[in-house]
């Protein structure tokens, strides 16, 4: 008899101990990976799986309301649920060539390219640019990089300016072999575009010839 009570007591204690953390953390939620999970201890149930979703079902739980769903989160009233959003980042660079034409000392030549980013990275994204060298000739003559914040007609300067909500700076800056940030955002973005305007101005001592440069854009999301 005593032994039977001991078994019953042990089982009850086990149920309490096992159940305690579940009750205590029944509303636990995780962020960063876009998962909201809540659990309860009821009569039964299980998970219904698909490649993108896991629906948790139970028996005996109370139906207390309707679900609230957005593109990133799903709040389930009365029932536990899980919504997994696949991390994603895409970006485009267009066009892939910019011809500034024939440079003259009395005007600043410009040409544009647009970088467009879509990402659900919770900590945002950064797009950088790095060049293979100066805007230069095959012989090594080059248009000097802008250093004073503005590409000025007649001054012999080359650089980029930016427009767009996510632009990294508002003045004119050089494009060199050192990585430079051109766009960023601290959160998720959809089709965020930054226009990069390449600008070249020459003095009369900029050597005659054909000039070229390759600018490489790299976009990185932080999830």
């Amino acid at each position: 008899m005593t032994t039977s009570r001991s078994i019953v007591f042990t089982i009850l204690a086990g149920v309490l101990v096992l159940g305690a953390p579940k009750f205590a953390f029944g509303d636990t939620m995780a962020s960063g990976s876009f998962i909201i999970t809540s659990d309860d201890l009821t009569a039964g149930g299980g998970n219904i799986n698909s490649p993108s979703f896991i629906a948790e079902s139970d028996m005996g739980g109370k139906a207390t309301g309707e679900d609230a769903v957005s593109s990133s989160f799903k709040a389930c009233a009365g029932y536990p649920c899980t919504l997994t959003v696949t991390p994603s980042i895409t970006f485009t660079v267009s066009p892939n060539s910019v011809n500034l034409g024939t440079l003259i000392s009395t005007a600043t030549a410009t040409g544009t390219a647009t970088i467009t980013t879509t990402s659900n990275a919770g900590s945002g994204y950064v797009t950088t640019v790095i060049a293979d060298g100066h805007l230069r000739t095959a012989g090594g003559q080059y248009v000097p990089d802008v250093t004073d914040g503005a590409v000025t007609t007649g001054a012999g300067e080359y650089g980029i300016g930016l427009t767009g909500a996510d632009r990294a700076f508002a003045d004119d800056r050089s494009v060199t072999t050192t990585v430079r940030t051109v766009a960023s955002n601290a959160g998720a973005v959809t089709n965020s575009s930054v226009t990069v305007t390449f600008k070249a101005a020459i003095s009369r001592t900029v050597t005659a010839g054909s000039y070229s440069q390759i600018a490489t854009f790299i976009s990185t999301g932080t999830f």
């Binding site: 032994t3 895409t90 970006f91 900590s123 300067e157 003095s203 009369r204 000039y211 070229s212 600018a215």
Partner: protein
């Protein structure tokens, strides 16, 4: 017999009760997360790649993530969807521990963590070939270290912009006579003119910038990569009487042209302000005087001249592009007592600027 069965049943129940108690305690400990080998999700995960363009080979990766409280030990794998040809020896750093050199092959990079704690984990030194198609590519974190997570990297059709431009070759040149009181400068723009030497004398050397005799200014701008040269060519090769063409004052190189000596020639001024140019970006080059017109001393009082000929001779040059490069040129003449008197000694000097592009 019944007592023995009763004792056996009691012992069996006690035994199962102990087993159940141990199981309950073990499961409880696991529930409360007291065991170190527990799965944890990394946050702040990123991979800075050297290129995003599709199909590019040997693209470098630099992965960074934030680990929760650890410590974490064991393998960590990064599986890149759609990537191929991983290579290198991944390694990295972590807070409070170390990241051992791992492996990279196919689309998986693996490192081994040793007691990595909360903080930044970096993984570098591996390369791979980017996906063949543009889009978002999921990277999954797993491994025995118990760290999980996922992130994405982009692949794009083209991640570069080729910028091109051209600069046409240009050269401009001015040359002409200028009053002695006015120095040559970057703004000089008068072309042509006459340098009247006046009446020559055996008691003095006649020179530009003396007795109001004009000098010659020349100014050049070019973007020729190899610069430009200014040449001078004399019509007569001497000062010749127009009415008696056999009577000449021969041009000669003299350092200096002595008083009472017959001679005629040019030199490019040696004083500091006799040559110059605009300050530009890129920086241009100053004119260089050329022999025989480049004596160390060429002023209104120093009569070191070079002979002019009927063939073009280089008088000064610039070795690269220059804007408004200028040079002052002195014309000098003297006579001996045997020079036949005429009022019409003359010569015509033709200057030509030639760029080398």
């Amino acid at each position: 017999m019944n007592n023995e069965r009763l004792i056996m049943n009691s012992k069996t129940k006690i035994f199962f009760a102990k087993i159940l108690t141990i199981a309950v305690i073990a499961v409880s400990i696991f529930q409360f997360g007291l065991l170190p080998a527990m799965a944890a999700t990394a946050t702040g995960i990123s991979d800075t790649m050297s290129r995003n363009k599709v199909g590019i080979t040997a693209v470098t990766h630099s992965v960074s993530m934030t680990l929760p409280s650890g410590p974490f030990s064991g393998t960590l794998t990064l599986t890149y969807a759609n990537f191929t040809a991983f290579a290198g020896t991944p390694t990295g750093t972590c807070a409070g521990g170390s990241v051992g050199s791992g492996t990279a092959s196919s689309n998986i990079a693996t490192v081994t963590l040793t007691t990595c704690g909360a903080g930044t984990l970096t993984i570098t030194s591996f390369t791979g070939t980017n996906p063949a198609a543009a889009g978002s590519n999921t990277v999954t974190i797993a491994g025995a270290a118990g760290i999980t997570g996922s992130f994405a990297v982009a692949s794009v059709t083209d991640d570069q912009v080729g910028v091109s431009a051209s600069v046409d070759p240009t050269i401009t040149f001015d040359v002409g006579a200028q009053a002695s009181a006015t120095a040559c400068a970057t703004t000089f723009s008068v072309d042509g003119g006459t340098v009247a030497l006046g009446t020559l004398s055996t008691t003095t050397v006649t020179s530009s910038d003396l007795s109001s005799v004009m000098h010659i200014c020349s100014r050049l701008t070019t973007n020729a990569a190899s610069g430009a040269v200014v040449t001078v060519k004399s019509l007569n090769g001497n000062l010749k009487s127009t009415s008696a063409t056999s009577d000449v004052i021969a041009s000669n190189t003299a350092t200096p042209l002595a008083t009472g000596t017959s001679g005629y020639g040019l030199c490019v001024g040696s004083a500091g302000g006799d040559t110059g140019m605009d300050a530009t970006t890129p920086v241009g080059v100053l004119p260089t005087r050329i022999s025989p017109f480049n004596n160390a001393s060429c002023t209104s009082a120093a009569h070191n001249i070079g002979a002019v000929t009927q063939s073009a001779q280089s008088i000064w040059s610039v070795s690269a592009a220059s804007q408004n490069a200028f040079a002052r040129i002195y014309v000098k003449a003297g006579i001996s007592g045997t020079v036949v008197a005429h009022a019409d000694y003359a010569d015509t000097l033709t200057f030509v600027a030639t760029g080398t592009f």
